[in-house]
Symmetry: C2
Subunit: 379 residues, 2 copies
Amino acid sequence: MIYLDNAATTLLKPPAVGQAILRALQTLGNTARGAHGYSTEAAGTVYDTREKLADLFNCTRPDHVVFTSNATQSLNMAICGVLSKGDHVISTDLEHNSVLRPLYRLQCEQGVEVDFVPADKRGNLDYNDFERLIRPDTKAMICTHASNLTGNMTDIRHIADIAHDKGILMIVDASQTAGTKRIDMQEQGIDILCFTGHKGLMGPQGTGGMCIREGVMIRPFYVGGTGVQTYSQAQPDRLPTRLEAGTLNGHGIAGLSAALDHIGEVGPENIERKEAQLTQRFYNGVKDIGSVTVYGDMSRDHAAIVALNIGDTDSGEVADELYEEYGIAVRAGAHCAPRLHRALGTQEQGAVRFSFSLFNTEDEVDRALYAIESIAKGI
Amino acid sequence: MIYLDNAATTLLKPPAVGQAILRALQTLGNTARGAHGYSTEAAGTVYDTREKLADLFNCTRPDHVVFTSNATQSLNMAICGVLSKGDHVISTDLEHNSVLRPLYRLQCEQGVEVDFVPADKRGNLDYNDFERLIRPDTKAMICTHASNLTGNMTDIRHIADIAHDKGILMIVDASQTAGTKRIDMQEQGIDILCFTGHKGLMGPQGTGGMCIREGVMIRPFYVGGTGVQTYSQAQPDRLPTRLEAGTLNGHGIAGLSAALDHIGEVGPENIERKEAQLTQRFYNGVKDIGSVTVYGDMSRDHAAIVALNIGDTDSGEVADELYEEYGIAVRAGAHCAPRLHRALGTQEQGAVRFSFSLFNTEDEVDRALYAIESIAKGI
């Protein structure tokens, strides 16, 4: 069985992840409740993981690393915690529904106004559009670091420069790049970085978070017990407590911590190189197969994703055949990216997405190429 | 080392929990993304767990079991998803900050009006107060099934009868009882049951959820990718998707599923009996130690919790001594229950909370009693 659906979740995790979770299941109390050893062990594990994430993303303060249960939660918290009635926000056609739906909801319920930078037929943005769309009441720009459909990456530094020039916040969805592409909050000018733990970071599901630049204020999304300032009616002001209510996923965070160690040992740049090689090998193989259309712009910076269709065959049919006849797991359909499908003209057909991880091999890529060639011949 | 802080999180889990997570880490894709075997395996695991929870709590529909990452999230979702501007709500002095803070916030930001049924000095409620506080605009009653501080249980059926008589919703916080006390949504008249996975259910941290009676409408709390209805700007209407955006904690849910199997094998009634025996043994031992004050009403239905103080010694000092001198982990302080501490008169001193699980033993109880006796002698 060949797993090429790593953009949905990385199936293979470093073995240390499971071992760390097992150990945590035997030793971890509640992270912020109590002063006994089990509880302080839990708090230590959580704090260490904040530090590792702050290091990886160059976030200046570990206490500004906030844990959530996935990128969707992080994005909801960032978007709803920053935008208020009457604000204007600029986003893009590349976004996932985890960005789009919170924006549509604020538009509908709060009168927040939203403009989208359009994507062209190759899924590229024109950065001048960000500048063009700025208004005096523009509060934030929200942009993905890489499309989850085409893998096209965006130049966050470029967009952030435009934003900061006008005092606008830069919020980044790093769901497809955290752990596999270089992210440097300082250098790229990221004010709020939203990420998930179970994709490129190779941690367990149920983990994710956000890194927040010093001075950026986000209203709490959910509120509750914090183990501190119990008699205050409001959620405590300080980060990370401000945005973390209730018991953290200590067991999952322990697993994420082990995954971060693995990333550190292999070297983030080696992971990026390996994934780029697999992606390029795959693209080189498919691009000349007659009747195959590849989406996105493979000539620019790219996440380890290639989306394609074979003739006008429904993407779901192709994915089913890949799985049933060749034992290859990919994802078809709309990928929660409705605006980009419209831009690419694939709203009806969807697209077949191949996505690679550190643990895939060249042989697996070649077997996927063989399968696509065979299916293409058959239609 | 003796762990008696199970009301914060059960440290010991059935061994099958860790094994299920390990297996899930090798086999589970994304629960609602794609149609390949890894993804359908994930979806199957999640659905099975919904069924087990629906069975345990007698929720009529497994698809009305919604996963969250802890009870705090469930409570925020229930409270904010049901109450609107101008609504009136009745809650109690027994509540945890996971109920109080969302209510205070709605009070402050939305003009929701809140009344609290007062607790007496033993932490009991007068059920007539629920009736007395009802107004024409009362939308919901929100009550814990057991205080996380004293362990006093509430008669949910009684309160729900009062509520339903006036068409008022009954929301229950089962953080301290799910898995260890009988919960029957039909019989007790619960409209929304909020629970966590990592306490009495003995699952991993990062799991929790809510069970929703058919016909009860809850607005989505966070919105995003759902893997279905991608082209709809709004979150899909149907449960559980309506309240679940983004990738579920499939690995954690697999662990919770194994924990539910363990509960089924041991028998919920046997777990309840075992915990009640330990609690009663502990209470019988402490109640006559001079200078020990036990809080709550041990003559009524009770969760496996005993809160006490020794003389006027700060609760934190006692807990520290228990841990450092006797290797006993308990929790001191305010327990996120500010209103109840005020009612008990323990706002300054806090309280030392002992909480038991299936995996504790009579010997551990006796050693805790010995420790308390020794500390009490020393002051």
